[in-house]
């Protein structure tokens, strides 16, 4: 997973931003976060929005090294805080008739 480190405050994002939400700086350096993430919180969602095909849907926030966090779908029936996960790329949902792809997480 690619990360983006703010050149001023050091906050690491898992997505490309123009401006750091933490400090307002506009310079970032790319950094490699590896493929190992830890689940820090999650929910099992039984009322899913239109456009989502899985129900129940497990959603969570994972943390890579350097504190880089990412929200996403967790492909497991037994989520647990602290479990190790790895990212995979694929279909997330449908919006206005079009498929949206992105990263989700599976047990490592």
């Amino acid at each position: 997973m690619k990360g983006y480190r703010c050149n001023k405050c050091g906050k690491v994002y898992t997505y490309n931003r123009k401006v750091c939400v933490n400090c307002g700086y506009t310079g970032f350096s790319e950094t490699e976060l590896g493929d190992e993430a830890k689940l820090i919180t999650y929910t099992v969602l039984y009322v899913v929005p239109a456009g989502i095909e899985r129900s129940p849907l497990v959603l969570g926030i994972v943390e890579f090294k350097d504190g880089a966090r990412m929200f996403g779908q967790i492909m497991t029936d037994k989520p647990q805080v602290g479990m190790k996960l790895k990212p995979q790329y694929g279909k997330l949902r449908v919006k206005d008739g079009k498929e949206i792809n992105g990263y989700y997480f599976v047990p490592a």
Partner: protein, 393 residues
């Protein structure tokens, strides 16, 4: 500082499943009722703000503020719709506050309404989730309950908050709503029903660890307030309610991007701004309405706005401090949880309850001798908040 701004009066429709009412009905009814009760000459109102989120989809309607001005015969006024997620209502009040305080208008009507019960649940759930981060939350299926649940898991773990504490919020707010003729959910519930053995069928999980009775319902409803500078207000009522302080703050849009996702920084900072402007401290507040879209939020917010120390909100709740007859009554109306949560109208319903409390007309819910009040209305999941401090004249 500009002129003192006061609420002349506040009205709301019954909240609930109002299939026979249109969005315009929900805006017109409380507005007209204010104009009639206070015998306001329509030409005195020079500006109208309408808070509403889903008009396009619920009612195939935009520019609803212009429509309201037309429907109620306000001629050649300024009319604008305000959209700030579920905090639209308090934001609309903030605009009215600035406009009157600055001397640009003497009398402003603020109305808010939402129709949430027309479209299917999964469609409304999707619409509401559009306020999440468009790149890092929405694509994966984030909904407000899912963000609330992820927050709840972290917050409950950090401060040792148990499911029974969340259930206590529901029990209290349902009980308050029984005393509120305008509330949506008129049903007492018990801890036993909510978390006792076999409670999963009565109170199923919606977004673990949150269950059905941890959620505010989908609501149709409308509310309106009439505001003016204090001198003008006094010519219409002996009981104006003064807006002493108004504060707003944002936080990072995505929950994942907040350094400590158990903090509600927008809530805390908006409250601090409002207290500072008002010169009133949190310990001096007599009655408050806070944004309990999820039960856990009532506890967390009660700490963020300075009523209780971090981690002690659950104790205050457990000890009855936040009941109507407690030292710090919270959500006497039933809150979003049981009064109902019609997005665009919610902030105005909160202000309505505080207005009635400070005017001494809250009937069975009346907090004895209440002279100061507070509301906080959250936009998004913690990404925006608007706080207001009120004082009886």
């Amino acid at each position: 500082m500009g002129r003192k701004v006061a609420i002349i009066g506040a009205k709301m429709t019954k909240f609930g499943n109002l299939i026979d009412k249109t969005l315009m009905d929900l805006l017109v009814e409380p507005s007209e009722s204010l104009i009639e009760e206070f015998k306001v000459e329509r030409s005195k109102i020079t500006s109208v703000y309408v808070s509403n989120l889903l008009g396009e989809i619920s009612s195939r309607q935009t520019a609803v503020a212009t429509a309201l001005a037309d429907y109620i015969g306000l001629k050649n006024v300024a009319a604008e719709r305000i959209e700030n997620g579920p905090a639209s209502g308090a934001s609309a009040l903030r605009y009215a506050f600035m406009e009157i305080s600055s001397g640009n208008s003497d009398m402003v009507l603020v109305a808010g309404a939402e129709k949430m019960r027309t479209a299917p649940t999964d469609v409304v759930t999707d619409l509401v989730s559009m306020m999440s981060h468009p790149e890092v939350e929405y694509p994966s299926g984030a909904t407000m309950p899912s963000l609330g649940a992820m927050f709840a898991r972290l917050y409950m773990q950090k401060y040792d908050v148990k499911p029974e504490h969340l259930a206590m919020v529901a029990v209290k707010n349902h009980s308050n709503a029984m005393k509120n003729p305008f509330a949506q959910l008129k049903k007492e519930v018990t801890l036993e029903q909510l978390i006792g053995p076999g409670s999963e069928s009565f109170n199923p999980y919606v977004a673990e660890p949150l269950r059905l009775y941890d959620m505010s319902p989908m609501t149709d409803g409308g509310a309106a307030l009439l505001l003016a500078d204090l001198d003008t207000a006094l010519s219409y009522t002996k009981k104006p309610v003064i807006l002493e302080g108004v504060g707003e703050s944002t936080d990072a849009l995505a929950l994942q991007d907040r350094d400590d996702p158990t903090e509600l920084k927008a809530v805390r900072l908006s409250a601090e701004k409002a207290y500072r402007m008002s010169g009133i401290k949190p310990e001096e507040i007599n009655v408050a309405e806070v944004h309990d879209a999820f039960t856990v939020l009532e506890i967390a917010i009660s700490e963020e706005v300075g009523f209780f120390k971090k981690g002690e909100g659950k104790l205050a709740l457990q000890n009855g401090v936040t009941k109507i007859d407690g030292e710090k009554p919270i959500n006497t109306s039933g809150g979003l949880k049981a009064r109902g949560h019609p997005l665009g109208a919610t902030g105005l319903a909160q202000a309505t309850e505080i207005t009635w409390q400070l005017q001494g007309v809250a009937d069975q819910r009346q907090v004895k001798d209440a002279s100061t009040g507070f509301t906080v209305n959250m936009g998004g999941f913690g990404s925006n908040a608007v706080s207001i401090v009120y004082r009886r004249y």
